[in-house]
């Protein structure tokens, strides 16, 4: 006689195959984007920037170093849709060429900074003790510098180049991402499934990578998308200060710096790069906000 519960009449479909599951966090994020109007708009804006980054040089009417000595500091016209700078270079083309540098920089530095921060946060949050103290105090020390100050310091000691900007921004992001991830790990590590793994005698690295990390992907993705907007801000600010790419590179921040002395005579010069920067950041913020709102457990 059946005293025990027979299988419940469960109408749910069978779970996804193991391979598809590996990308589950990303798919959830993609679903979150689709589900949020803000995130979709943000993603659309960023898609435009992405196109510019990839195809900019091909689409631009002129090369970014192309001088037109007879058209110095000209207002926008049909020939030069956004006007020309003090060297007669077409501002629109320069902005389009510059997309590649800025976006690559932002993406790489965000990913790198997040990766570094995640590692520190995971290790500190799981192992606790002396390791955690040392790591967190170091992170605190790094965070004691306002972001731009730290980046400036790093860049002046390493040198002015986009590569070092990536390093600088990554180092600035590392402690912040580490803090967030450490919090995530601390709360995850208190879960029963981690206790179950420890009761099986699983080794530390197994628990870290096979039990904890797969559950951390969603917060990592959310954190990364939020940082992405800040990386664009930081990168262009550093370019403005002259610490990034050197002239004649079409770095957007640098272009605004170069436009400053001519602000009275040629106010249109500053607008294209300003518009480019702000649209990219707005897009990134919308995307980040939307994803965060959708993925937050309500």
């Amino acid at each position: 006689m059946a005293e025990l519960l027979p299988p419940a009449a469960n109408p749910l479909p069978v779970g996804p195959a193991a391979a598809a599951r590996r990308w589950m966090a990303l798919r959830r994020a993609a679903g979150a984007v689709r589900g949020s109007k803000a995130a979709t708009v943000g993603a659309a804006i960023l898609a435009v920037h992405l196109v510019l980054a990839v195809l900019g040089p091909a689409l631009a009417p002129y090369r970014y170093t192309e001088f037109h000595m007879t058209h110095l500091l000209e207002a926008p016209s049909r020939q030069f849709l956004a006007g020309t700078d003090q060297f007669g270079r077409d501002q629109l083309s320069r902005v389009m060429w510059g997309a590649r540098g800025t976006l690559t920089l932002a993406v790489v530095s965000t990913v790198l900074g997040e990766a570094l921060g995640v590692t520190v946060g995971l290790v500190g949050g799981y192992y606790r003790g002396v390791v955690d103290e040392v790591l967190m105090r170091t992170m605190d020390a790094l965070m004691a510098f306002p972001s731009i100050l730290l980046a400036m310091l790093i860049l002046t000691s390493l040198g002015h180049s986009p590569t070092y900007v990536v390093a600088g921004i990554a180092i600035v992001f590392m402690p912040r991402a580490a803090r967030v991830l450490r919090g995530v790990v601390l709360s995850l590590a208190a879960s029963e499934f981690v206790d179950a793994a420890r009761a099986r005698g699983e080794r530390g690295w197994y628990i870290l990578f096979r039990e904890l990390l797969p559950n951390a992907w969603t917060p990592i993705i959310v954190d990364t998308t939020i940082r992405f907007s800040y990386s664009i801000l930081l990168a262009t600010s550093l370019g403005f200060l002259g610490l990034g790419a050197a002239p004649p590179s079409p770095d957007w921040g640098l272009m605004i710096n170069e436009a400053l002395p001519f602000l009275n005579q040629a106010p249109w010069l500053a607008l294209p790069p300003a518009l480019a920067i702000s649209s990219a950041v707005v897009g990134a913020n919308l995307l980040g906000d939307g994803i965060q709102a959708s993925l937050r457990p309500e």
């Binding site: 519960l5 009761a199 005698g201």
Partner: protein, 615 residues
């Protein structure tokens, strides 16, 4: 009482939630009445809609909830009142007390201030008068040092004290109707008993009617005059509590009563009659009796049309076509009992502990020694022994150290002193040094089914991992053995590729049990494995544990605060209070004639299904 005009008259109450997946019926066809001064109990499991009813009768539900039906307070319709009119009633004539006082009291305001605010709002008292009245109220709810408590913040009070403050706040303006939604869930048994006592005395003193919502049938039996049983959003039975529990007129009520382990009588059978099947989908339209799929008495008619709520016996209603045929709970059908055939292996103990002690250091002690603060002793010199095929239960309330004990036994926590011995072999005190074969023999099942499985791992991965760690063999081997384990916990191979969020709480707990048993351990520590589960699911899980013990010969260390479950399952019990063992012995000896004062107090505090009229 039945002839007086009802204070609260509910007719055909229906609540529908608009969700992204479409409309979901939370509550349907609920009709009952509460007379002035009556305590009406609303009992049901999770998903029954009882809490929703509690909020709905207050008029408290807002979109996306759509409320239909007729709720009359003192003859006046409630659901059509304006927000201002409702505000005039809330806190003054209609009050509600929630389940978790820690989160319903504002943590940044003093307890007294929160009560005074209600008095100032509704009765226009000035500060001095409000304070005086608050102290009176705190005294009435039996808070020690009422004036002192008024000046404290919620986090400085215990759970029981916080709940008393909530009750005082609800009673401040002498309401007619008090809705109490699981007010003692989460409190210790002894605290719960005192709060129930308080509720009874308050009703006697103030004459307020109470709508008492709970999943605990015993509490309802002790406290309430009348009861309504809810299942799947519907009211399936109402009536005076003693009559309903002695002679139910709905198969669900009967099934609930029978699958409950009893604390006041020795366990009659090894396996409880559990309720088969699962709840129906709340989003699906109602075309039949909601309980038909799980009902042993169901006939064709039940599957073709939904039964209405009808008056069966006088003063009682029932939502069953065949209410007359529902038997009394004591007349247990013969085929549902299986005679227990267990022998406990006497001889060398499988698991022993000697003098286990665990102290918690003060936080922050790492770098700077704290002056004078003594460390907290969670466990103090605890010794135990468990034989083969034996179930030793550890009974204790919160803070007793029982969870600490369980964790020390399976090597999740390092004891400050004492030893654990497995089959006579002393294990290293530091769990990091335990060998894999040691680990294999000791497993643990946890309380909370939500996080007991890794959300990112399939059922197969969860169950097969111990096989991989402790066994080996190819992936196909493991898949077959995992499927076999799932069969053993009555889930079946088609669960292999599912993820935890696709499973119910009971199903997850079964997978956790399968995972624990996969490595074929000798000892399984069960840390409150059914405390977070519904009563019907609990019965099935307890049965599963019993069957697995019989077929595989494991021993259990069963940690629980629930004395009825312990009496049903355990061979021997050990009572822990503040980290020390106060009593131990064979289950029946301890329950029938306890020696220690604390044990006696515990047993006296546990509510039983016998209503006060019967005792």
């Amino acid at each position: 009482m039945t002839t007086a005009a009802p204070l609260l008259d509910v007719r055909d109450l229906e609540v529908v939630y608009r969700t992204a997946r479409g409309p979901v019926n939370a509550v349907r066809g609920v009709s009952f009445a509460v007379a002035p001064g009556e305590i009406f109990g609303l009992v049901g499991e999770s998903g029954s809609g009882k809490s929703t009813v509690g909020l709905a009768v207050m008029g408290a539900l807002r979109p996306p909830a759509a409320v239909r039906g007729d709720v009359r307070y003192r003859g006046e319709p409630l659901l059509t009142k304006s927000p201002a009119a409702l505000r005039a009633l809330w806190g003054r004539k209609l009050s509600i007390v929630f389940q978790n006082p820690g989160s319903t009291l504002n943590p940044v305001l003093r307890a007294g201030a929160q009560v005074m605010e209600v008095l100032q709002e509704h009765e226009g008292l000035d500060r001095a008068a409000a304070f005086a009245r608050t102290v009176e109220l705190f005294d009435a709810v039996q808070l020690p040092d009422p004036a002192g408590v008024a000046g404290k913040y919620p986090h400085q009070l215990s759970g029981g004290q916080q709940q008393r403050v909530s009750i005082a706040m609800a009673l401040a303006c002498d309401p007619d109707l008090l809705v109490m939604d699981e007010p003692t869930t989460g409190l210790d048994v002894t605290t719960e008993a005192r709060i129930l006592e308080l509720v009874r005395s308050l009703r006697a003193r103030t004459g307020a009617a109470i709508l008492y919502i709970s999943h605990n049938l015993a509490v309802i039996a002790q406290l309430c005059d009348a009861v309504g049983v809810m299942y799947a959003g519907e009211l399936v039975e109402t009536g005076p509590v003693a009559e309903v529990f002695a002679r139910p007129t709905h198969p669900y009520t009967l099934a609930l009563l029978r699958c409950l382990p009893r604390v006041d009588a020795p366990s009659a059978q090894r396996l409880l009659p559990a309720i088969e099947g699962a709840l129906p989908d709340p989003a699906a339209p109602v075309t039949q009796c909601q309980f038909a799929a799980r009902c042993p008495m169901a006939e064709d008619r039940c599957r073709r049309e939904p039964p209405p709520l009808v008056e069966g016996l006088p003063g009682r209603t029932s939502r069953c076509f065949f209410w007359e045929k529902v038997p009394a709970p004591d007349a247990v059908p013969a085929e549902r009992v299986r005679a227990a055939s267990r022998t406990v292996d006497t001889g060398t103990a499988v698991l022993e502990a000697h003098g286990l002690t665990h102290e918690y250091g003060m936080p922050g002690r790492r770098l700077v020694p704290v002056l004078g603060a003594p460390p907290l002793r969670a466990l103090d010199n605890v010794s135990l022994a468990v034989g083969g095929r034996e179930t030793l239960a550890i009974i204790g309330e919160s803070g007793s150290g029982k969870t600490t004990l369980g964790r020390c036994l399976v090597g999740l926590l390092r004891p400050t002193a004492g030893d654990v011995m497995l089959r006579g072999h002393t294990l290293p005190r530091r769990p990091e040094r335990w060998t894999r074969s040691t680990r294999r023999h000791m497993q643990i099942v946890f309380q909370n089914p939500d996080l007991t499985l890794n959300p990112r791992r399939t059922v197969f991965e969860a169950v097969a991992r111990p096989l991989e760690l402790f066994g080996g063999g190819t992936r196909e081997d493991r898949r077959r053995r995992a499927a076999a384990m799932l069969e053993a916990v009555k889930l079946g191979a088609r669960y292999l590729d599912r993820l935890p969020h696709q499973l119910s709480g009971g199903e997850r707990q079964r997978v956790a049990i399968a995972r624990a048993f996969a490595a074929d351990p000798d000892i399984v520590v069960c840390d409150e494995p059914t405390s977070a589960l519904d009563v019907s699911v609990q019965a099935a899980i307890l049965n599963l544990l019993a069957v697995l013990q019989d077929s595989r010969g494991v021993s259990y260390v069963f940690i629980s605060h629930d004395l009825s479950v312990v009496r049903h399952l355990a061979d021997r019990v050990m009572v822990i209070y503040r980290g020390s063992v106060v009593e131990e012995g064979r289950t029946e000896d301890v329950f029938a004639s306890p020696r220690d004062a604390y044990t006696k107090a515990l047993l006296a505090a546990v509510p039983t299904l016998k209503t006060p009229a019967e005792t």
